[in-house]
Symmetry: C2
Subunit: 299 residues, 2 copies
Amino acid sequence: MAQASLALASALKDVAANIDRHFDALLAVPDDPRAELYEAMRHAAIGGGKRLRPLLVHATARLFHVDAISVTRVGTAIECIHVYSLIHDDLPAMDNDDMRRGKPTVHKRFGEATAVLAGDCLHALAFEILSAEETHRDAFVRSELVAELSHAAGPNGMAGGQMMDLEAEKSSFDLPTVTRLQAMKTGALISCAVECGAILGRVAPDARTGLRGYARDIGLAFQIADDILDVEGDEELAGKKLRKDGDAGKETFLSLLGLDRAREQAQALVDQAIEHLHGFGAEADLLRDIARFTLDRDR
Amino acid sequence: MAQASLALASALKDVAANIDRHFDALLAVPDDPRAELYEAMRHAAIGGGKRLRPLLVHATARLFHVDAISVTRVGTAIECIHVYSLIHDDLPAMDNDDMRRGKPTVHKRFGEATAVLAGDCLHALAFEILSAEETHRDAFVRSELVAELSHAAGPNGMAGGQMMDLEAEKSSFDLPTVTRLQAMKTGALISCAVECGAILGRVAPDARTGLRGYARDIGLAFQIADDILDVEGDEELAGKKLRKDGDAGKETFLSLLGLDRAREQAQALVDQAIEHLHGFGAEADLLRDIARFTLDRDR
């Protein structure tokens, strides 16, 4: 985090505090047999992660002076999807991870059945948040947000990319296939965060081209940086097990490009992402800072 | 099915054919590494089940002359949620079932990781279907449908009820707690089907009281009948393993009420459900037939 600009560091802190506060209220533990389910959701959702996706909603929506409450609710909904996917990806049948964000994974702490259900509940809650009138008074905006997030989460987005990732252990994917896999697995939800910021700003679909290019480029840069961190990073700082892709024999940007070309490629993508913002002035500086931050991070 | 009226038998057949046709188009297998994921979703979603929930959307929406395409799309979305919940409930960490609708369960046939992802994808697809303009041209209606279904699927509905069901193996629940558990686990999605039919019909919330009472009563009657079938039914006809609740030491309507009182209670609920429809004429006969059918079925 030492590398983040002052404005970015402050935005990261504010957004994280907002999201935590929102999750704390949303996931108040009921006094009935579902208490453990809520504890499991809180364990996964509160107090961890960079909150990159909610930050992207915030940084995009500020270009268009969107209400703070809409921004927080949409950020929380997208984070619900991100957190549910981490819970399910960590399951023994999937990546079988014991640690996440420096804590035991949900199934390690609460058991597998509760982990499956906690993920399912966060998945449903995302759409309950988006479709509520408090998120936006205009039903058309609410419906667009749901369309965007459900597409990004489903078989043509994140979950489809995760399926391709499972197949990557059995096949030897080439660079276009790995690029498509990552564009779906992590890129779709990152793009969705920017798109939802634009939807809240009532930007017409054909005026979103620049923002879409920005989102696509930082999504890919983020994943290349992740591949590099996976090989060069510190497990303590990362809060999770590293170097699993190599062990599983999966092709990654790093294995296909080598370290030097991967670094160059990631930097080129960040430059290109910033170029996509040329139509905006200083109000887009936070988006520019986020683009640089995708590479200069330690976790 | 011999007990169903001619009109009901024909509606059951038509709705099932419509839903199958819709799933067949929705889940066309792509020529890429996600093929297995789509095969798994098709295995679970196509050609099985009574399609009770889509039938309830149809029977309710016909009271208000709703477009057929809206009815089919909303029925498919609710069935996506129902099918995803069956896939996840059957997982080894949950109910650990090998057979469902007379076929191997998804994880038996495609492996656990694919089963988790197939469920997650159907979950997301439900909301992608509802938020698409083809479902209804009015965004307010689309947003209401999403609000209703996401609430019915989440921690205050189906998934919350499933969590209570897991806890039921450890505790000894009383009748009010079992009633609440079942109202959430199976009742919420049944009520949601009727509610979505009314939303499509643009019935104002405070004019839905009768339909809500009907839905609540048949949901409970359906579950009592299920408990009775679980003890008295034929595994061959049911297409799944029976008599598991008793083996797991769970309290059910049957264990708490005894067979005779459970039968009386279910019949009283069906009569009461039909009474809730007194404001409707012959156009509600299909809903009345469905109420009777919840008891007179062999699977």
